[in-house]
Symmetry: C2
């Protein structure tokens, strides 16, 4: 794919004279054609007009208040940081307003502010905070300087023709070019990586390069720095490696090659994909407008389109992103970046009418040609309801590093049950030690949660808004996730290096049968000499109000271990069918390391039978876990918040099934069976419909589990553990009954 591109580039370079002489402004994101369209048919797009009015009011108020370009001093959340951040957003908006309304006051405002920056910038040394692996000048980190340039390029493009040649020369010489050099050649650690930070850097350099028609900057943006002098051991602030071993390409095209899997999955997860989408799409759109021969939208079989759709797919029923890896919860498709992604994807990737339904929920559009199209087509009644489907994404640039699956099925309340299964690569500096973990959602939100990151983004009181130390000591650790932890030690021993070198393997998956969506994956390297094998099933059956979620977690080893299977249930414990002893007057931590030091041990008990149940209440719903148990299992209730003197963590509950054994298997079922609201005070189906969960057989070759309904109905699941051949024939004997099947698994009901 690289070759084709390079040829395009050559053509482009030869044709540069043509492009240069013909270059018009604006043509970066907002284009002359877009401006004309907007001016002529505004009335057909009421949502666009609304945004236009709101933006006008906002920018007019800023113009009224005056220009503030303070000497940089503060961390995120502090005055100078927030002011410069506001400036670049307002600059970009003012640019669009100038083009759309033709009112010169906006151009004057931009010019005057840029001139102040051009005066200030040459005097700036590094930002005084010096707390980043790549300290910026305007902000505490280069990343924010790059943000500034991505937005300011658009403003510059908008007023390019308004400015005098002399003004442009001043700005380019004293501000834009030196800033572009600063965040690239002066900061290779920041600029020359495969990382969302670098993508911002590449886009910033490339976009200002396009406006200035500075071919050197454009090349640097596309292909990175040639000699960056970086080695493989350098770390960023989040503990991620700067360089990936054996990967030496950089620049925007390399980001497209290495940031995404062939399916458009982004290894850091959707929270960062959302953040990265802005430079990806803005620079790509700028290239699309200015270097059409590059065919950037077709690059890697349309990887950008795939990425946008994978971003939108990684949301719950309310549009909140799944908090995989380092993610602040609450981020949703209402975010500025997703509004941009939806509008650009609609305009440039085939006018998918389901995107309009997201835009309707966002109730905002971009103030440019894409946003105009979206608003116009919503008004024209083209919106189609968004239907989120089950989907399986491969991870790794070649699709070779496991993946993430999202299994969805409708529930009785008109919403859905959605399981997010993570058997992906480590996720670089933002990765968590959560191999084979899952989280579960319904239309009310989280049912079984992933903790997300220990960070309060931009909130100064919490470590200046950066990642907190508990992010490493707790949020990244395996016990903070819904996956197996052996001997109280995180996967890969908590080593990022080991984590990045390995990943789980998909064993098999079938999401075609909506009534039985099944996924099975194996992890061989998280613990030496140990295979972890998890099979997860979303099962729809008329005997249950909602789809059930079945979890069969097998571990194979020669060693005697302690296994902990945590369930981060969201809500308040209602009841258990086993006795436990609660610590009523004194609490101690559950352990001393790998995240265990952050858990208070509240209670522990033993199963009363060979199957156990616990019921909780959350989100106005009743949920029950039914699990197969062994008589010596220890059943633990714990809660976050220990060893947390600065109150950085949430105090969420967790239920842990602990077992000491060699090879063993855990089998449990999550059931959403009823609801209650405090206004009617009428509980609907507050009790589980399941009688028991059992393991009928577990050998190296086969695992057979059984689920019994209160009515006596039985579901049996048999899995061939070491043969993924769809045509292979299997047979197991359970008591005097023989189960025969073809393929990897078998589900029977009677």
């Amino acid at each position: 794919m690289q070759l084709k591109l390079k040829i395009s580039l050559l053509i482009c370079l030869f044709g540069a004279a043509f492009f240069c002489s013909a270059q018009q402004h604006p043509n970066l994101i907002l284009t002359k054609k877009g401006v004309e369209l907007i001016r002529n048919s505004k009335a057909t797009a009421p949502l666009f007009v609304e945004v236009l009015e709101v933006t006008k009011a906002e920018v007019d108020a800023e113009i009224e208040a005056g220009i503030f370009v303070p000497v940089p001093k503060d961390m995120a959340g502090g005055y100078t940081h927030e002011r410069h951040k506001k400036n670049f957003f307002i600059l970009q908006k003012a640019g669009n307003l100038y083009q759309i309304t033709g009112d010169e006051k906006y151009a004057v405002y931009i010019r005057d502010m840029f001139l102040e920056y051009a005066t200030l910038f040459p005097k700036l040394g590094l930002h005084p905070t010096m707390r980043s692996y790549a300290t910026g000048k305007i902000f505490w980190q280069c990343l924010n300087d790059a943000n500034w340039l991505v937005y300011s390029s658009q403003a510059y493009d908008a007023v390019y023709d308004f400015l005098t040649k002399k003004e442009r020369k001043n700005l380019e010489k004293n501000l834009f070019r030196p800033l572009a050099d600063f965040i690239s050649v002066d900061n290779p650690k920041f600029y020359n990586r495969i990382h969302n930070h670098s993508t911002w850097g590449n886009a910033a350099v490339g976009m200002i390069g396009l406006v200035m028609n500075d071919e050197e900057l454009i090349q640097r943006a596309l292909y990175g720095l040639k000699d960056d002098g970086l080695d493989d051991t350098m770390l960023d602030n989040d503990g991620g490696f700067i360089k990936v071993e054996g990967q030496n390409q950089a620049g925007f095209l390399a980001q497209l090659d290495y940031s995404f899997s062939p399916d458009g999955y982004f290894t850091e997860g959707p929270y960062y994909l959302r953040y990265a989408m802005t430079p990806f799409l803005l620079f790509a759109k700028s290239l699309h407008n200015n270097r059409p021969d590059l065919k950037i939208y077709d690059y890697r079989d349309g990887i950008l389109k795939k990425a946008v759709f994978s971003l939108l797919a990684q949301t719950d029923a309310n549009g909140l992103f799944f908090p995989l890896n380092d993610s602040q919860k609450g981020m949703s498709w209402n975010a500025r970046e997703v509004i941009a992604a939806v509008d650009i994807a609609y305009a440039d990737f085939g006018n998918d009418p389901e995107l309009l339904s997201i835009a309707v929920k966002q109730n905002k559009v971009l103030l440019d040609g894409s946003g105009f199209l979206v608003a116009r087509d919503i008004a024209a009644g083209k919106t189609k309801k968004l239907v989120q489907k089950s989907v399986v994404y491969r991870d790794g640039a070649e699709g070779e590093k496991g993946g993430v699956a999202i299994l969805r099925e409708n529930n009785v309340d008109g919403g859905e049950i959605c399981a997010v299964v993570k058997y992906s690569a480590h996720g670089m500096g933002h990765g968590h030690f959560d191999k084979l973990s899952y989280s579960l959602y319904d239309d009310m939100g989280e049912v079984i949660q992933d903790y997300g990151a220990a960070r309060w983004v931009n909130i100064d009181q919490k470590g200046g808004g950066r990642y907190l130390k508990e992010n490493k000591t707790f949020a990244k650790q395996s016990i903070a996730h819904n996956t197996l932890v052996i001997n109280e030690e995180s996967h890969y021993g908590g080593s990022v290096k080991k984590g990045e070198a390995n990943s789980p393997d998909l064993y098999f998956v079938d999401i075609e049968d909506k009534d039985c969506q099944i996924l099975s994956a194996k992890e061989q390297h998280a613990y030496d000499g140990t295979e972890m094998h998890r099979t997860l099933i979303l099962l729809q059956d008329e005997n249950f109000r909602n789809p059930l979620f079945l979890d069969i977690f097998r571990v194979k080893t020669d060693k005697e271990n302690q296994y902990d299977l945590p369930l981060w249930f969201m809500g308040h414990l209602l009841s258990t069918d086993f006795d436990y002893e609660a610590k009523t007057t004194e609490l101690k931590t559950l352990g001393t390391d790998h995240g265990y030091q952050h858990l208070w041990k509240e209670a522990a008990g033993k199963p009363a039978n060979e199957s156990l149940q616990m019921t909780w209440f959350g989100n106005s719903r009743f949920y029950t876990q039914t699990a197969a148990a062994q008589k010596d299992d220890e059943l633990i209730f714990a809660r976050g918040g220990a060893n947390d003197p600065e109150y950085n963590l949430r105090h969420d509950p967790v239920f842990i099934q602990r077992r000491k054994a060699k090879s063993t298997v855990f089998f449990n079922v999550i059931e959403s069976h009823g609801r209650y609201n405090p206004v009617s005070e009428i509980p609907l189906s507050p009790f589980s419909g399941i009688e028991k969960a059992e393991i009928l057989q577990d050998t190296d070759a086969y695992t057979v589990t059984r689920l019994t309904h209160n009515s006596g109905k039985i579901w049996t699941v048999a899995i061939a553990n070491n043969n993924a051949d769809k045509m292979a024939k299997h047979e197991v004997k359970i008591g005097d009954q023989i189960i025969k099947w073809t393929g990897v698994y078998h589900l029977s009901k009677k």
Copy 2:
């Protein structure tokens, strides 16, 4: 007021022959006139038609499913309980449908179900659960039997003319009359009390009496049982006294006399007022329709109207009731009972158009004449926006037992800051030991919370849905509220008897000046030889984004005591300006009794200065408490959930300012100063605008406090502690400055 009523009653009795012969059906809640109006002008009331269709679908499905009248067996939440409960709701709805649609299938269904009840009822002994102070027959408690009869009376009224005389005789002889006798003469403890339970009993007996035209039942409903044989020491299930000393009247009119203060405040609080409103309004409306000479709506200067409006006033910006005393949180004006109250109040108490705005939010109306009027007038555009005003309610039948004040002021986000100050009587069996406590709300909900009750209403897994033992050991205790606790002992030593015998006194109040709403109350009896005096101010000032809440809590005594002032802040601690030592690996309880045994002590510190600050984040908002401090104060962070082996309690955080002293004063300020949302990730005003809070002087005569803004601006509050005369002149010397004022308090700013 009793005399006038009795004369009306005599007139009514003399006129009984007339009423009897002229008696028509339906005339209880739904009337013949109402039915005609509805039938003729349905089209003008679309919301009513919607409710009609939904109700039809619901009742038709029940008719389709068949009649189920099981032998009573289960507690609340169990099958037989929920089935009988459903039956009475469906019966009432079917009755209205029969009248409105004229379709006889509804009458047939009612008749057949009633006949089954008439067969079952004579065979029933007491309900087998035997867990109530007044066990029922159809349900586990008489209360639910009374609910059944209140609704079934309406169904009987609706089909009265449809039934044969023989059928009516059967039903009255085998079902209605014996049930009415059972819940009254057979259960004086239930029936002959001043309590919401008895109000249901009175209404049930009275309403069936009106339909049957049974004057004996009507008299019994209005005046209670003559000789009930009850003594003053009996308790109900909730620990409340059955009889109040010296109060011997009973029946519906006595409920009206003693349940409400002259302002319509209900001593048990809004959660129970909501519940009690149904029998109050339904029976009152039945009397209004059938015994107009009683002028029941004019009784006690229109006490029922006052009660409805006080109910609606005791809600936060989202219509949720303040959880005073025993209340399950989440109850709101969307409750069935409040829909009924709003509709009846609109129809019968003067067509207040603000009520329509609540009905619009409820999006439901009663399926009768009142509901029709509401729906019609909404469609006619008569709705006016509800504006909740600050209000002060007296408590006690004569208004002599303190009260509850609700102070409201707009905030910058288009919502409000609302303080609920409780200096009321104990609240009978549902009362809490929370003298001079407050809770604080904004448009997002709770800011400083009242715990509410430790109960999961109707949720079988939690003690059958009844009050949990932690309700007594924690939720009722003083430390669970935002008020002063002395020597780790609850107010009145936790004695209901002492609590009922005493109440705080209003010292002064002024809510006329919207910018400075102030209330001051004293409590003399909660601790022997100790006066507690709290002054609370809602202060609007241009220097702050939102109104501030000032709290000056003075305690006067000769003894050396330990004082704890808890702040039940809702949210996550962000920062403090003082150091504290956190318990990182081991937690112990804060105390051993009076609720302290349910708190984990998480951290403790000392103030760094003479003023302290703590900032928390909740509801997407930043809040800061600034408090005057003494150097030996202990500053404690604790959390609920200790000694709670069944997970009955929420694990909420609390901040406690602890001081050892004789007479002393606490002064603190709550400031809502900023906001943040996880989508934009931009914090707005995350830091407090206050520099410090100080006490300048505290003598028996005067308390003077000062608040300093970061800008240097100063607010001084001076209070005369022992002279509530509005014309009295005062003078205090602070350093070399003299403050002079007239009246109880003085607020100055400079």
